[in-house]
Symmetry: C2
Subunit: 302 residues, 2 copies
């Protein structure tokens, strides 16, 4: 099965209570693609970078079965850059700087061979760009997952609502679910959102795990309690990558498969946060993944 | 099996985003006793009230197999009173008023027949009072559970540390675990606390569930996602009651039994928060409890 991934490929500079990085490679599509690479071998990447983006990373993508034909490299332009600082409570972060650069006029163009991808992951991006990708598909993918964030709810709510209508799975965090639905209770929020288009909803709660909801069904996946969370950047994207690639691998769309996919997302996210950026994520292997999956099983078994 | 419960029996006046109560019956031992009453039929209550405390509630205790021989009723004195207001985010509350009244000079005296209780629940109280109860036991109970809170860590840390040394299970919330251990990471905090005396540690995370830890073992129980949480008062005490009474009923002390006891505590707490005070807790039955236990199983099964 093939998964089409659209999202940012970017530079980040990150500060957390555990340290600080220079410009390192980040971006939603980077994390989604890398997490997916452990489960499927056809990942179609759609994104844009500047000519400052390291060839080395593009080579790494290729080695990880991430096709870069849809990765536009803009000459004489610079890659999207985000810099942020996490508080002692790492659920809170301040954006220090955002340079849109190549992202300002990003027009996603799908190579012909991408247009039949069976699974579509619309990573966190401007809703109109997510929609443009969706519109280029030759036939409707088997499953469309959309990830988004409060910024788009604040400034592009109408476009976001339009995009959400078209998708099967929406992934947002708890605060965003409340914002989008204007409900204080998370369960009421979920019920309302499930009437806005998506058949499934995933509510990410960071260190407190994630909820998967379908009409009248609910599943809860904890986050693995870790001694040290070094850098939460990309955890949500990594989760999304682990989620969609698991479903694509199984090629089965039902609540039971989705539960396991949520656990797979949580497993991958638990690696992501243990080092800065993608450092740990690129170095795991099937054995480590299996071992951690078993830890998740043990954690909730009674 | 018999469970000895020490803690407050009190009046509360509560305001939450969902409403407001006049003086209603509350207190740690009240919630612990009522939650326990569904699982065991010998609950030995040690507490103190004033002559303003309703006979009706004392009769309810008796009807629920809560022995009140150890409940001191002080003539011409008034019952402990607490009044609080919860924020929109109900994890935060402000204390509006505290009247210690009878609690100021509370000297717990155990009736002879209490002194052989097999299980001991030291509900949230001044650590020296908890210790006084422990010291009156004829033989060491099979299991001693101590619940406490940040107030005692702020003002009576030394006494608390002394009491903690003697117990098997400590129950506190996540912030308190960090405060007690001076660690930022919850898992590091837990490891440190497990060296301070208790063999088991329960970290309560409110709407995010609870962790049970023993050296090298960890179990996570979610909270049931509820449409409406009306009033969180007493949820932690109810949890403790559901926990210790389950173990007392099974009369078995190992990690597997404790896991199920944590789920039982979560089940009972999920009822508690659905109405103000003890209103819902006193009205559940075995069928409703079983139904909810199954919901917990469904929630995490994958």
């Amino acid at each position: 099965m093939s998964v089409l991934v659209v999202g940012t490929v970017a530079f980040d500079a990150i500060e957390t209570p555990y340290g600080k990085t220079d410009k390192i490679v980040g971006g939603a599509a980077t994390y989604i693609g890398l997490a997916s690479s452990y489960f499927i071998n056809k990942i179609n990447l759609v994104s844009v970078v500047g000519e400052d983006f390291p060839k080395q990373t593009i080579n790494l993508f290729k080695k990880k079965n991430i096709c870069t034909k849809g990765l536009q490299i803009k000459e004489a332009e610079k890659t999207f850059f985000w810099s942020g600082k996490y508080h002692e409570d790492m659920n809170i972060r301040d954006t220090l700087e955002t340079q849109l650069n190549v992202l300002e006029n990003f027009d996603p163009i799908l190579p012909e061979e991408y247009k039949n991808s069976e699974y579509l992951m619309l990573g966190n991006l401007m809703p109109s760009v997510q929609k443009k990708v969706l519109n280029q598909m030759k036939k409707r993918p088997k499953l469309i997952v959309l990830d988004t964030m409060n910024f788009w709810m604040d400034h592009f709510l109408e476009e976001l609502a339009e995009a959400i209508k078209e998708v099967d799975v929406l992934t947002i965090n708890d605060e965003e679910a409340k914002q989008l639905s204007k409900e204080k209770s998370l369960i009421k929020a979920a019920k309302k959102i499930l009437k806005m288009g998506p058949k499934f909803l995933i509510i990410k709660k960071g260190e407190h795990g994630a909820l998967l909801l379908e009409k009248d069904k609910i599943f809860y996946a904890p986050a693995l309690p870790l001694e040290d969370v070094i850098d939460p950047t990309g955890a949500g994207d990594t989760f999304a990558g682990g989620f969609i690639s698991y479903i694509a691998k199984k090629d089965k769309i039902d609540f039971e498969t989705m539960k396991k996919a949520v656990i797979n997302g949580s497993v991958m996210a638990s690696f992501c946060v243990q080092k800065f950026g993608t450092e740990k994520l690129i170095k795991v292997d099937k054995e480590k993944i299996e071992k951690r999956r078993k830890q998740f099983m043990e954690l909730v078994k009674f």
